[in-house]
Amino acid sequence: MRMGGRVTAVCCTFLVVLLANAASAQQKVGDPPEASNMRLIGTNDLQARSAYQPTIHHQGDRWIAYIGHHGGTDDIPDPVNPMTGKPEPNGTSIVDVTDPAHPRYLRHIPGQEGKYESGGAQMVRICDGKDLPKGDRNAVYMLRTFGSEAHEIWNVADPANPVLITRIAGLKDTHKNFWECSTGIAYLVSGAPDWRTRRMTQIYDLSDPAHPLKIRDFGLPGQQPGATGAVPTELHGPISTGPKGNRVYFGYGTNKGGFLQIVDRDKLLSGPKEPTPDNLTFPEIARMPLSAMNGAHTVFPMPDMPIAEFARDKDGKTRDIVMIVDEAIQNECGEARQMVWFADVTTEARPMVISSYTVPEASGGFCERGGRFGSHSSNESMAPVYYKKLAFIAFFNAGVRALDIRDPYHPREIGYFIPSITAATDKRCVTIDGKERCKVAIQTNNVETDERGYIYAVDRANTGLHILELTGAARAVAGLP
């Protein structure tokens, strides 16, 4: 009897501990942020709009953050802009972050009417007019998406008073564009109406932003107009290394059946343009399939990385590395884990995954917290302060994760920051036994860095912008004082 009592007591204690642990994982308004080697410097609520791409631009003596937004929510399709007093469809937030402790909201440019991924103006890239071959030297150009239907270029030289310059419309979707400021070549993720995929690449010469010149359409064979049979996975986004690197890295697939495609930039831009299977294959150097359970949201190139471990080897001391970041889509771990992969593409025709990184789920009970858990995107700044040393990964309810990538064969987490939720943080729901069950959790969606070393994390669940800095050992890895 006494033995049975002990067993019962142990079981009850275990159960209580388990329940307490699960309960503690859930974020509550008022809870402090969770952090290691990272510190919050400043915040802005971004008018409680669901945020996607932040791009930080050094503009004269100011630092300006341009932040793209997803569409509104079922509850609040068009949040009120307190600066105008009017409801506006989510678009682009422009924030002066010169003093990162006191970011100043300058302007909201409305986007396409629509909720969640159907509206807004998710993507934003910036080029100075003085860098573009035919740009107005006094202008600063912002390339943004306009929901699913168009790309737009604005002059944001006065970021509080942007002026629309150009619109490329008539599309069925848009997404994560890339723009080479030194040449003006833009790789626009578009849905050309006659293509068989929602997202492919339209390449434009935007060296004179007022007069866009179409170069060609590009995608995987099978996606082009008139094709039959299986349709390859849609594009997510490209990153070019420009004329010097002569490579464009395309990520396909988001969270399933992904590919890393390595393309010869010269052949892409000057090769035959008619979208036949042969012409689409012509500039391709290699296509590396990921697992069917993973996709490629961001493919971030880091060519010519010295690898300390290989320093005394006669060959292969430096490696060309591409960091591949999947996107988690399902709430509460309702899919295969989406994470980060490092590929060695030194021998380009035979790229190979060499390592991976994920946040340990048990370290925060992340499958229980609500919303998405898994990777989404990385910083894309190639400024020397972090390039090839540290990478920052947006990991939804696990916040921002700082990785030491100096040895990409063995990436190592050296810091993290999980912002607090606020009253504005939107719920995320799953259906269980026919009933909707919702939780509120941070959903760090995208992250970017600036040349000063500040880290900008934005939230998909309307919690706003979090400006961070490294502390402790992580700061030392970056060589920051």
Binding site: S118, W195, T197, T228, G229, A230, G257, I432
Partner: protein, 177 residues
């Protein structure tokens, strides 16, 4: 006049018999005629779905249907927008990568979910049906294949999908919709 009655009666009987035979031939099989088989495709990005076969005796031609939910795979607002989307998502590529549409698709409703249906020619004499229907951000993909008349393959597939058993399963598979 009286002698005509047996002839008329015989004619009615003959016509009735012919109609019955025609009706039997045209009658579509019930869900019970279908039996579940193992999911015949290798692992891909989505978990395996459910596969069913109806024999030639019950369906007039052997037909296989493959059903699986793809949660979070659909445009939450526009649903299944066009035929290209059916080509992309309906799993016909699992049956064979080289499928050619026989024409434009059509709107369809399966288990109270709207979407589109399209008919394809596969290698040889096989016909495939691709169906994609959606509820909110989730998609139900259906692919079917059979030999012979495409219209018949489409009819028996849709009849199968309209059965209560399938509707109940689809509702549960779409997370209790």
């Amino acid at each position: 006049m009286m002698r005509a009655w047996p002839v008329i009666a015989a004619m009615f009987l003959a016509l009735g018999g012919l109609s019955a035979v025609a009706g039997y031939e045209m009658a579509l099989p019930r869900a019970a005629a279908w039996r579940e088989i193992a999911w015949p495709f290798p692992r891909d990005g989505w978990p395996a779905g459910r596969a069913f076969r109806c024999g030639a005796a019950e369906c007039g031609t052997e037909v296989e249907a493959y059903l699986r939910p793809k949660l979070g795979f659909c445009n939450c607002d526009s649903g299944v927008a066009d035929d290209d989307e059916v080509d992309r998502v309906a799993d016909v590529d699992m049956i064979g990568p080289r499928f050619v549409p026989l024409g434009a698709g059509d709107v369809v409703d399966v288990a109270d979910m709207p979407g589109r249906i399209r008919v394809y020619r596969l290698d040889g004499s096989r016909t495939a049906i691709g169906i994609a229907v959606s509820h909110r951000c989730d998609l139900m993909a259906v692919a079917a294949q059979g030999r012979g008349d495409a219209a018949r393959v489409q009819r028996v597939t849709l009849r199968f999908l309209a059965s209560q058993e399938v509707r109940t399963w689809m509702a549960a598979a779409m997370e209790g919709r």
